[in-house]
Assembly symmetry: C2
Homo-oligomer: 107 residues x 2
DNA sequence: TCATTATTTAGCTTGATCGTTAATTAACGC
DNA sequence: GCGTTAATTAACGATCAAGCTAAATAATGA
């Protein structure tokens, strides 16, 4: 991973954010599957995936003729850590973090 | 606040990320102070502040001839919430979140 | 009101980003 | 090896981001 600005830059595009969210929800997916979901040519998606790769947000592995993409936890950790470092700011008064975690417990 | 991509886009520039971090650390500051810290013309910084304002990351209030800028907690919350929504991903195995919070306790 | 200080807006230039189609690389099965 | 499928790279055009200088706006204070 590099600096946070590169991570944020990678996530500043709707297509790329959607890809990351989908990979987090569904796990490893081939590039072709991601192309099919986005209304976009394969080369365009390939370029987006390259941006995500270079930012350290996703990784790919070869599976026959396909390339399976998945999210790199470290990159997400970096963002989470940043928000936690500045928790004093967004946590004003009531403990939102606790509330959020409590919500998870119920699920 | 709008969508997360706009928030991420605003933070994808080193100057703007530095401004946000400084405002979080030092609180409300006049635009001129932010210009002085960055090696950049006043118009350039003004434009950056506009981007941050439009993304909902900062707010400004008038103080005589100056404008005092500060961070909007809601925007930071939005990012924190997003990471927490996908906590299952970056939290792999050991509880990093707990570790981070425990660190805060010590301070 | 007039000069000063603080900040933003306007106009311009340069470089990056995002999409397209066409061509290339890589791995598989026959 | 050859054709097929999957994905990337190349090359191009259009739009957007970020810097600058100069000009405009806003509030203060003599």
């Amino acid at each position: 991973m590099q600096d946070l600005t590169q991570t944020f830059s990678a996530l500043s595009d709707a297509t790329r954010l959607a890809v990351v969210e989908r990979l987090m929800a569904e796990g490893e997916l081939p590039a072709g599957n991601l192309v099919a979901a986005a209304e976009m040519s394969a080369p365009a998606m390939s370029r987006h995936l390259k941006v995500l790769r270079e930012a350290g947000l996703v990784q790919s592995r070869v599976d026959g003729t396909r390339r399976l993409y998945s999210v790199r936890a470290e990159a997400l950790q970096a963002i989470a850590d940043w928000t936690l470092d500045h928790r004093a700011f967004w946590q004003a008064g009531l403990d939102r973090l606790e509330a959020h975690l409590a919500l998870d417990e119920k699920e």
